[in-house]
């Protein structure tokens, strides 16, 4: 079975923001000139968190495509669901009533409300899904990264680039104590 996952290498990331901008232009170009009011941020599915302890560092956050996603369990109509063919957490706009229960249920604060459609947006956007599903490519955040700090692929395939990188790295997953089984791997060193 295919189980897609994201990887972000904190030790390689230079914090240029290319992934964030690419996400806006690819997935939310209708909001290029307006804000994502939920986060007080650009209309990107990626959120930047700054941490100042011992030394400054950043954390790039997005949907963790959890294997046990609270947003899916909370959704009354099944609008948020796990696509069993690829393991990604997706939204079916036809079934969404805009209750935002998924937004309050996400421990990662990875969803934001589209100001026009009222949809609870998150990674991956329509364009990225199209690239992955129809063209067999990788999401735009991965392809634009100049430092190769990002990767995406099938973690059930031992020969995928993401599986190889995970085998060669030290990595963590965020808020594992919440029991969400996230598929967003933060590489912290070789």
């Amino acid at each position: 079975m295919t189980r897609y996952a994201h990887l972000w290498d904190a030790s390689r990331c230079v914090g240029c923001g290319a992934c964030i901008v690419a996400c806006v232009s690819a997935n939310h170009h209708d909001l290029m000139n307006s804000d994502n009011k939920s986060w007080g941020w650009v209309a990107s599915n990626i959120r930047r968190v700054e941490v100042e302890s011992f030394r400054p560092r950043i954390l790039l956050l997005q949907c963790q495509h959890c294997d046990n996603p609270p947003c899916v369990h909370a959704c009354p109509t099944g609008a948020s669901y796990i696509d069993k063919s690829d393991g990604l957490v997706k939204i079916d706009p036809n079934k969404c009533i805009g209750c935002r229960y998924c937004v309050t249920s996400c421990p990662y604060n990875a969803r934001w409300v589209h100001p026009v459609t009222g949809l609870p947006e998150k990674c991956m956007g329509d364009t990225c899904l199209y690239i992955v599903e129809k063209l067999g490519g990788k999401p735009v955040c991965v392809t634009v990264c100049p430092a190769e700090a990002r990767d995406f692929g099938d973690i059930d395939d031992p020969n995928s680039s993401i599986s190889i990188r995970l085998r060669q790295s030290r990595f963590i997953r965020l808020l594992e104590s919440k029991g969400t089984s996230p598929k967003f791997f933060v590489v912290v060193g070789p």
């Binding site: 009011k37 939920s38 986060w39 007080g40 959120r47 968190v49 700054e50 941490v51 100042e52 302890s53 011992f54 954390l59 956050l61 609270p70 369990h73 909370a74 959704c75 009354p76 109509t77 099944g78 609008a79 669901y81 036809n94 079934k95 969404c96 009533i97 805009g98 209750c99 935002r100 229960y101 937004v103 309050t104 249920s105 996400c106 421990p107 990662y108 604060n109 969803r111 934001w112 409300v113 459609t117 009222g118 949809l119 963590i172 965020l174 808020l175 594992e176 104590s177 919440k178 933060v186």
Partner: protein
């Protein structure tokens, strides 16, 4: 070195649950525990108030949706395709609210016809029906609590104290409603029973204790997000609303009026009515401050745990 927290996001900012949802929860509580109280106070005024409350609750919750036009299509599609999520508290709530509306509609219709429609009266006045009405009322109130406590993004809410608090607070609303109706006319004033006042007083005292225990625990040993939320309520921007509105006027004042009534054995109409009205307002404010006090867990401090 203590980390500087840069990513504090409030629930209200991100999800936008504010007054509309607070009023919805409040009205659902009034209709819920009011339906339980209806077993003992079966007057038309009570039935109509409960029916109006639950219908308004439905209007408010729909008004809060960002895609309200899609509700019929979404629910129908979900039911047909088998994706309606029976394990979601939101989904269960939709069903419970609709059942309770129907149950209250039958009770109210019986009052409209003054019991002259025999078949309707047989159903609406039967003990079994009143127990079912009360049971579903209790479930509606419980649901409105679990709806919040199961939202795992907001640590402050992730406690069983919320459903308990909602039950207590909605019970004070039910007692307050009865007190208002009974006090409305001097002829029925004598119907205020000492037992009722004692029950109201006990719930008020227990509610104050539960509110403070819930917030104290969240503030002292909760996660960073829960602690930030509790701090916001206890000492921050929500503190005037909390200490004056919820604790002072919404619970302490009604408790003191209850104590005065029990000790002096005198029913003072203005005092009883003012306490009842303030208890109702306090219950609304309680829901509002807990909703708006919700803060997402800052990942800058807890991401690596």
């Amino acid at each position: 070195m203590t980390p500087l927290i840069h990513d504090i996001y409030t629930q209200e900012q991100v999800a936008g649950w504010g007054w509309l949802i607070a009023i919805f929860l409040w009205l659902a509580g009034i209709a819920g525990m009011g339906s339980v109280a209806y077993y003992w106070y079966r007057k038309a005024s009570m039935a109509y108030t409960l029916l109006i409350s639950i219908m308004l609750a439905l209007i408010f919750v729909i008004a809060d949706l960002t895609r309200p036009w899609n509700v019929p299509n979404a629910i129908l599609t979900a039911l047909v395709s088998g994706t309606y999520n029976w394990y979601s508290w939101m989904a269960l709530g939709i069903i419970l609210l609709l059942i309770q509306t129907l149950l209250l509609l039958i009770v109210s219709a019986n009052h409209v016809f003054k019991g002259r429609m025999r078949s309707l009266a047989l159903i609406a006045e039967s003990k079994t029906y009143l127990i079912i009405l009360g049971f579903f009322g209790f479930l509606v109130t419980i649901y409105s609590g679990f709806l919040i406590s199961q939202a795992s993004g907001i640590s402050l809410w992730n406690t069983p104290a919320i459903p308990i608090l909602w039950i207590l607070s909605a019970s004070t609303c039910a007692v307050a409603l009865i007190e208002i109706f009974v006090s409305a006319s001097p002829e029925t004033m004598s119907e205020i029973k000492e037992t009722g006042v004692r029950i109201g007083f006990s719930i008020d005292v227990f509610e104050i204790f539960t509110i403070l225990a819930f917030l104290y625990t969240a503030f002292t040993i909760g996660t960073v997000g829960a602690s930030l939320g509790a701090e916001k309520i206890l000492f921050g921007e929500l503190s005037p609303l909390f200490w004056i509105g919820v604790i002072g006027l919404g619970t302490l004042y009604p408790a003191m009026v209850g104590a005065y009534t029990i000790l002096t054995r005198k029913i003072n109409r203005p005092l009883i009515i003012s306490a009842a009205v303030l208890a109702l307002i306090g219950a609304l404010l309680l829901r509002y401050i807990i909703l708006v006090g919700g803060v997402y867990e800052p990942l800058s401090t807890s991401a690596f745990t």
